[in-house]
């Protein structure tokens, strides 16, 4: 389970970083989204992974999952969604202004 989670985070953040370094705004956007997913998983993992355990402390006691990272992830997802939407709008505007979706607004290279 831990290995699976760790490799999922690694793949998400690795491919996200690769895509962010591309020169097209669309791939940069995809990369940022992947990185966001990876970071959210990481936050979740930092609260220790427990399977089939409720995030509340019962009167009877018993195991519980740490609810705080889950709340953090929820907030981070909402914020990430807003930021992605803004960047998408900005990318569309950038393409309208420059006529290409190069990150520096350069013209498209001839094929």
């Amino acid at each position: 389970m831990n290995l699976l989670l760790a490799s999922a985070i690694a793949v998400l953040i690795g491919s996200g970083a690769y895509l962010v370094l591309r020169a097209r705004l669309f791939t940069v956007l995809l990369g940022l989204m992947l990185m966001g997913y990876g970071v959210n998983l990481f936050l979740l993992a930092m609260g220790r992974v427990r399977v089939l355990v409720p995030p509340i402390i019962r009167d009877a006691g018993g195991p519980y999952a740490d609810p705080l990272p889950q709340a953090l992830v929820l907030t981070a997802i909402v914020i990430g969604f807003g930021m992605t939407a803004f960047l998408l709008a900005l990318a569309v505007r950038s393409r309208a202004v420059f006529g290409s979706d190069h990150v520096d607004g350069l013209a498209d290279a001839p094929p």
């Binding site: 959210n40 981070a76 202004v97 990150v103 607004g105």
Partner: protein, 520 residues
């Protein structure tokens, strides 16, 4: 602003309330709540006059509220506001010490100046300028008040998304291009921020800064290594916001592209990064943090010095007066952080003094820079303003920047760091003077050098902005604030000394936050 600072001692004795007064604590939420509420109201209305009144009225009101909070904070108590009245380690807390209060007041003053300057027409390109402006202030104030790491993150995001909107407001090609870079860079920064928070949480189990500091100090070596990595990742994010080398290359492009009032307001944004670094440096990974003691010290000193060098060289190397001012802003951030990195009370106090001066000077100079690019306004007064602004940002006598630099140079202990710091501060000041006088001579005594050739065809500014000449009044008012700062330098310097004392005794703040009475 300074009228309050002047009578601080007198009033603090007259004021019957103490820091634990319920009324004072409830007021603590106002610096966030007022701009948030005003932003919501401004979205609802289509009347420009109403939205402008809201924007300017809120900033003026914030000056009053922050001034009062400063007097409260100067009583020596840490004011703590628990959202939802939960007991402390559980509750989301807002806390106010002398440092937060000083920065709140500084934010309010700079925001008033730039809101005033925006009335010339920069706010007319779209309906949401005022809302974004107010949200930015809410985010900045929230960051200064946040008592836990995640709230700091949320405040950062709030101010960032507002700053994205303000930066590209008007959507000229330069603004869109530098806006894209700024947004992508800060989104990556936010991811790193979350990773850092997660790492600190995983070993300490808390996000409350006071509790975090106590637990970081008690960690055993392997866990402390993990916490140190997390704290250093946070340092990277804060350095990105404060524009420390090697994370400062985005700033001149972004700030010089923004409209002048926005650039003036952005002068406070780098200070949010500086604040976060100082807070972590003194409070969480300070000298009493066990295995993580003085974690930032080794990095802060060389990075700050390099930042001063980068800013000075960038200032000399540019032909655009806005880029020149952006470079000088980077330089001033380096100077204040180098002083704070010394680690002594005098160094911290001098850095804070210089922070107050340089932020107001930078805001004024961004407005003057835009003014001096206009060819159709009377040149003589603009020239005099440019001269006064240049004196302020270069840190020459008689204005308070000179006092700040003298304080910084005096604060140095006599060891290997002294010659390095003297060389860097004095050399960078010289380069700043050279750059400013070259630019001033070219602008006002006939262009010796060819103007900077724009790489892209420029879309002209909207007609409303061009028709109304930029007012000279807001930058003059900001410069007058500097004059008052110079006259009242003793009061401010005493205050920054008391702030430094408070910061260097973090155990006292921690116990005050954690032992806040009340709860369910």
């Amino acid at each position: 602003m300074i009228a309050t600072a002047f009578s601080a001692e007198l009033l603090s004795r007259l004021a019957p309330t103490s820091g634990h007064d319920a009324f004072a604590r409830d007021l603590l939420v106002l610096p966030m709540l007022l701009p948030l509420a005003a932003a919501c109201l401004s979205v609802l209305s289509s009347s420009l006059l109403w939205r402008r009144t809201l924007m300017l009225g809120t900033t003026v009101l914030l000056v009053a509220v922050s001034g009062w909070l400063l007097l409260m904070a100067d009583l020596g108590h840490v004011l703590v506001y628990r959202l939802g009245n939960w007991p402390v380690p559980v509750a989301i807390v807002l806390s106010l010490d002398r440092l937060s209060a000083l920065l709140l007041l500084l934010t309010a003053v700079v925001a008033t100046g730039s809101a005033w300057a925006a009335l010339r027409g920069d706010d007319q390109h779209g309906p949401y300028f005022h809302a974004a402006f107010l949200l930015l202030i809410a985010g900045v104030n929230g960051a200064f008040l946040a008592g836990d790491l995640f709230n700091l993150f949320v405040s950062f995001e709030l101010l960032l998304i507002a700053s994205y909107g303000l930066l590209v407001f008007g959507a000229t090609p330069t603004r869109v291009r530098s806006g894209v870079h700024y947004v992508v860079l800060n989104l990556v920064g936010s991811s790193i921020f979350l990773v850092g928070i997660g790492m600190l949480y995983s070993v300490t189990g808390t996000l409350n800064l006071a509790e975090l500091a106590q637990r970081v100090a008690l960690l055993d070596a392997p866990s402390a290594a993990f916490a140190r990595s997390g704290a250093l990742l946070l340092f990277v994010v804060f350095a990105l916001k404060a524009a420390l080398v090697p994370f400062s290359f985005w700033l001149p492009a972004a700030y010089s592209a923004a409209s002048p009032p926005v650039a003036a307001l952005f002068a406070i944004l780098t200070k949010v990064g500086v604040y976060a670094i100082v807070r972590m440096h003194t409070f969480v990974v300070g000298t009493d943090a066990g295995h993580s003691a003085d974690l930032y010290g080794d990095w802060l000193w060389p990075m700050a010095l390099l930042t001063v060098g980068f800013g000075a060289l960038a200032a000399v190397g540019t032909r655009s007066v806005r880029r020149l001012q952006s470079a000088l802003l980077v330089m001033s951030v380096g100077t204040m952080l180098a002083s704070m990195a010394i680690g002594s009370e005098a160094g911290l106090a001098a850095g804070l003094f210089y922070l107050v001066h340089s932020t107001i000077a930078a805001a004024a100079m961004f407005l003057i820079a835009a003014l001096s690019e206009q060819r159709d306004t009377p040149r003589r007064w603009t020239g005099l303003l440019f001269f006064a602004g240049a004196v302020a940002v270069a840190g020459l006598p008689p204005l308070s920047g000179f006092l700040g630099k003298v304080l910084i140079l005096q604060a140095l202990p006599v060891d290997g760091r002294l010659p390095v710091m003297w060389t860097v501060v004095l050399g960078s000041s010289l380069l700043a003077v050279i750059a400013l006088s070259r630019r001033g001579a070219a602008l006002f005594w006939g262009a010796v050098e060819a103007p900077e050739t724009p790489t892209l065809p420029r879309i002209s500014e909207p007609r409303s902005a061009r028709r109304a000449p930029l007012s000279r009044v807001p930058p003059t008012a900001l410069l007058l604030v500097l004059v008052v700062l110079t006259v009242g330098a003793g009061t401010l310097s005493n205050y920054t000394h008391r702030t430094a004392q408070q910061l260097l005794a973090p155990g006292h703040i921690r116990s005050q936050i954690l032992n806040t009475p009340g709860g369910r």
